[in-house]
Symmetry: C2
Subunit: 280 residues, 2 copies
């Protein structure tokens, strides 16, 4: 596996691939890879000639006081895992290379960036769209892969690509879960044994909500109430938000239907976890 830590070399490498009419599949990550990332890499490898995995803990998408400094990092481990999954290139630029002194340009998707996680983490998605735009310009992918766990992120990136007429296909793959249902996340490593058990409440709340919908419940307020009940049973859990929104506009719905996104963010101790499901 080729490791590139410099923007210019990555851009040149991709430019040569494009000249050779090779297709590029791109998996942007913050590293500390898990099976969710690996499923994206494996799929990219099936669809395209060259799978590029980026690892960049993007400071612009962390708010002051969040876990930027303690976010888990292990490049050797990531390199090995990405290679075994079929990754061809690992791109890990430095923050100084990505945001040199005097950096000033931001990409913002209005409205969609201000709800759900964007409401409780203001500025987060502006950081995401800015870094994704930079990475797209450097890596020049034909297809970029995102996980359904970060539902809002992929909806916003799709909107950015559409609005700015970028010639890139965005593919969103299903959330990969631990055997007991916890959505895979690099942040799960923060959890104590007790917290790890309590963290199941996110998936359990979604399961209960889906069961209620199957039984005929359509009131968003009642479904959210059910989910709140599940989460509040856990002593280490604190709700950041639980919402039922339209999958396209991300605006709240009163009545759930096919295409409603149920999404929640919960602090388990100090660790903020997210999960979601799309009703069908």
């Amino acid at each position: 596996m080729k490791v590139i830590d410099n923007i210019q070399r990555m851009a040149m490498f991709s430019k040569i691939l494009k000249k050779e009419s090779k297709t590029i599949g791109f998996i942007p990550t913050m590293g500390y890879l898990h099976d969710g990332h690996l499923s994206l890499i494996k799929t990219a490898k099936k669809h395209t000639d060259v799978a590029v995995v980026s690892i960049f803990v993007n400071p612009k998408q962390f708010l002051p006081g969040e876990d930027l400094d303690r976010y888990p990092r292990d490049l050797k481990r990531d390199e090995e895992m990405a290679r075994l999954a079929g990754g061809d290139v690992l791109f890990n630029p430095s923050a100084e290379d990505m945001y040199p002194d005097g950096y000033a340009t931001y990409v913002d998707v209005e409205r969609l960036s201000n709800t759900l996680c964007g409401n409780t983490r203001p500025g987060h998605f502006k950081g995401v769209t800015t870094v994704v735009m930079k990475l797209f310009d450097i890596v020049k992918p034909d297809i970029a892969y995102f996980g359904q766990k970060d539902a809002q992120q992929s909806i916003i990136v799709k909107k950015m690509v559409e609005d700015l007429n970028m010639d890139i296909e965005i593919k969103v793959l299903p959330t990969v879960r631990e055997k007991d249902g916890l959505a895979m996340s690099s942040r799960n490593i923060y959890l104590s044994e007790k917290e790890r058990k309590d963290a199941l409440c996110l998936n359990q709340a979604l399961n209960k909500a889906e069961a209620a919908v199957r039984s005929g419940e359509r009131s968003a307020a009642k479904i959210i109430k059910i989910m709140e009940g599940i989460v509040k049973e856990k002593s280490t859990a604190k709700i950041d938000y639980i919402e039922a929104v339209d999958i396209k506009t991300l605006s709240q719905v009163d009545t759930v239907s096919s295409g409603t996104l149920l999404a929640l963010a919960v602090f388990i101790g100090k660790t903020r976890l997210i999960d979601n499901t799309i009703l069908n």
Copy 2:
């Protein structure tokens, strides 16, 4: 000359050119072409295989109350002029195609966009960088051409391209002037006979300022005073701003030197005109 009025067709046409390893020179304009635009087209034709001229009166860069509705438009005339100058493709998308319902994505270059014209026209450059980003993604140029008359615009576009790692070269060509020194502008057509004479004060103020610098004057305040004096002699002229700024940061300087940008915007009657010079 090929005329394309549809984003998808333009994007496809450029994609095919890139596949054929043709280089693309791009001249984004708001139409009503003049010799300034034509010098950009002629230069693009020298440097690259295919010269693409876009004509799009971008609503996002006009403020409420500005001249969006009366901005001069004449596609037949523009097509003929662009063709004679060597243009290969004229791209004129509709506003509905560029900004469909629900459009939400903006590119903003902070700081540089808030001084000079950005100070008196807040939001203007956000509209410019957003449309230029879209046009770059559609047209896929190797080199894009801008005029020195819009000095701040080209500085901001250069910064955007650099910050976002876009693989596009920005070339800025000298301001083209009428015989009597007035900088060419599509907006000059708004001027009455009397205003057309008064409009010379922009270039005259810059000439006087340069003469003062040649005579040893280095105080920005004194040089601005000299320029103000020239403009205020004209009955139809009203100063929007006159500033001496660093060419890179666009922040005001107290002492002028090589690399200082002298820039001014003046209302001549209802018509807002700009001009500038870089001291050397």
